[in-house]
């Protein structure tokens, strides 16, 4: 396994967490809203047109892309959302072939999942990230201190940082079009433009029912799985598919929400503020103890005499 920087933090975090998981956090009430909005992405419907990327760029006033949204060669290599693109569509060839022996592509749109119990929000020590009642995990730039704990905590590796901006860098991720969906009848930019309704917008509970009905009505077309129903305690964005998720770059995450893990990292960091005292005490002790072993300069002098 290649160990990325992020992966390294996760491992060290997990080690710290394992040491200090406490009952108090497990008993804490879940911050998940009762009836949030969500989006259901039906991968069997996505045609890879990248109109969602285009719309997202427009509604969020993001910088123009290096290559046009109509340029299909962009799909030739997999991408991740970054500070200039909150959502990206990737193409996979999982192996099926059509009647003329051509590989059939599957397209996957990725963005922030808007977790029900977001790890990024729990990791944030100043409350810049919060799960809103309407489902959006919202970022407040005025509170952010730029510590980037959210980037380490997110199990989906979503938040990006404006490293190029030395004065006012921000953490950037899909906003779930918070302002737009807060208005009556408002839709996320991507869901509104999608030509095939590969993205269905609605209440999370309704979408779960829609997803289950689609799978039940067409068991040959879909796998019996909804990514995001239980993953990390449930997410506002969910996916259904014809191809196993692991072949489509989906990250294998536990069903339990990871916030507790992130929170424990935070709390243990602060809880262990006493640790330097112990460390220096220990070092001091060693020095003191080893003091007698070293020949004393005066003794040396005395020997020479």
């Amino acid at each position: 396994m290649k160990l990325t920087r992020r992966g390294f933090f996760k491992i060290t975090g997990a080690a710290g967490a394992a040491a200090t998981v406490s009952r108090a956090y497990a008993a804490k009430a879940s911050p998940a809203p009762e009836d949030p909005f969500g989006c259901l992405v039906d991968l069997t419907r996505c045609i890879g047109c990248r109109k969602c990327e285009d719309a997202c760029n427009r509604v969020n006033d993001l910088p123009p892309p290096a290559r046009s949204f109509e340029d299909p060669t962009v799909l030739n290599r997999p991408r991740r959302p970054d500070e200039k693109a909150f959502t990206v569509v990737n193409r996979y060839f999982p192996g099926q072939r059509d009647a003329s022996n051509q590989l059939v592509p599957t397209f996957v749109k990725i963005q922030c999942m808007h977790c029900q119990e977001p790890a990024c929000a729990s990791a944030c020590i100043v409350g810049a990230l919060t799960k809103k009642e309407n489902g959006a995990v919202h970022y407040d730039v005025t509170r952010c201190i730029g510590c980037r704990y959210c980037m380490v905590a997110c199990p989906f590796e979503i938040p990006a940082y404006e490293y190029h901006d030395p004065i006012t860098p921000r953490v950037m991720k899909c906003t779930f079009c918070f302002e737009r969906i807060s208005e009556a009848g408002g839709l996320p930019g991507c869901a509104e433009i999608c030509p095939t309704e590969a993205i269905t917008f609605g209440r999370r509970k309704t979408l779960l029912a829609v997803a289950k009905k689609r799978i039940q009505d067409n068991p040959a077309r879909y796998l019996q799985e909804i990514y995001g129903e239980k993953e990390v305690g449930g997410t506002s964005w969910m996916y259904i598919t014809a191809v196993p998720f692991e072949k489509l770059g989906f990250i294998d995450v536990p069903d339990k929400p990871t916030p507790r893990l992130a929170e424990t990292i935070q709390h243990s960091l602060f809880a262990y503020l006493w640790s330097p005292i112990v460390l220096y005490g220990l070092l001091g002790g060693i020095m003191w103890a080893s003091r007698g072993n070293r020949p004393h300069p005066e003794d040396e002098e005395g020997d020479r005499r």
Binding site: I47, E70, Q102, P195, T196, E197, G202, R203, A209, R214
Partner: protein
């Protein structure tokens, strides 16, 4: 041996490629089917104005439809004797205010109703449900059932835009006929290149290529990474692409253009 990239060679190659691309439609013209599909953007149906007006109508939503399988639906249409001969409007302009209210980035799609019906010979493929109201007409327009997307009262029902796209693209794929890309159906706003292209009198072929690359630099870069330039390998777009071609200008051949 592969020689390092030289811009002169790239240009000459592009010219050759362009020649092929420009010539291709001429070959296709001999094929009547290709003729039908490649409607020029300027083409106007004789009943264009009437179609445009019809496209503006929004009919009341049909709340309930008869729940039946496709086979039963086909059977019923056959029983009532509905077919191509009964078509009232042979030409539609798909430009509903329901769609325009939300997004309006593309021009309307021209839909040849009779032509499609005659080719498919199965009305039930598109007219896949019957209104539950017994007094309603047997077949209704798409927008009678499919209107706004994501309605809370009908969460499972597709909006009009998605109904069009799913129906058209799926059928074009299944039958391996008809466009599946955006511009294949929607007229695209390509700026008039007469205004943009600046060439002196009697330009050499490479002058033309250079002029193309002035704006389409990325297209030129892309070409250098394709089998057209490298003459080897792997392209996701070619048949049996899983078999890598190891011989070619980019590898074993000496004459590398």
């Amino acid at each position: 041996m592969t020689k390092p990239f030289s811009s002169g060679r790239a240009l000459r190659f592009l010219i050759a490629l362009m020649t092929v691309l420009v010539a291709a439609p001429a070959f296709a013209a001999g094929n009547p089917e290709a003729d039908e599909l490649a409607l020029s953007p300027e083409w106007k149906a004789p009943n264009q104005e009437e179609a445009r007006q019809r496209a503006q109508e929004v009919v009341p939503l049909i709340e309930a439809v008869v729940d039946e399988c496709q086979l039963c639906r086909q059977q019923r249409l056959r029983d009532v004797g509905l077919g191509v001969k009964d078509i009232v409007h042979s030409y539609f302009l798909l430009e509903s205010p329901i769609i325009k209210k939300r997004e309006d980035h593309y021009g309307p799609v021209r839909f040849m109703h009779t032509k499609h019906a005659a080719a498919i010979q199965d009305c039930a493929i598109c007219h896949h449900a019957r209104p539950a109201d017994p007094s309603a007409k047997e077949t209704v327009r798409c927008s009678a059932c499919h209107q706004e997307a994501f309605r809370t009262d009908h969460p499972e029902r597709l909006g009009l835009k998605a109904a069009y796209h799913q129906q058209c693209i799926q059928c074009h794929r299944d039958k391996a006929k008809g466009p599946v890309d955006c511009a294949g159906c929607h007229p695209k706003n390509v700026p008039d290149h007469k205004e943009l292209v600046k060439l002196g009198a009697n330009p050499e072929p490479w002058d033309v290529t250079e002029e193309c690359l002035r704006c389409h630099a990325a297209a030129g870069e892309d070409m250098l990474a394709t089998a057209h330039w490298l003459w080897k390998g792997h392209s996701a777009y070619t048949l049996n692409q899983q078999k890598k071609v190891i011989h070619g200008k980019g590898t074993t051949a000496i004459n590398n253009f």
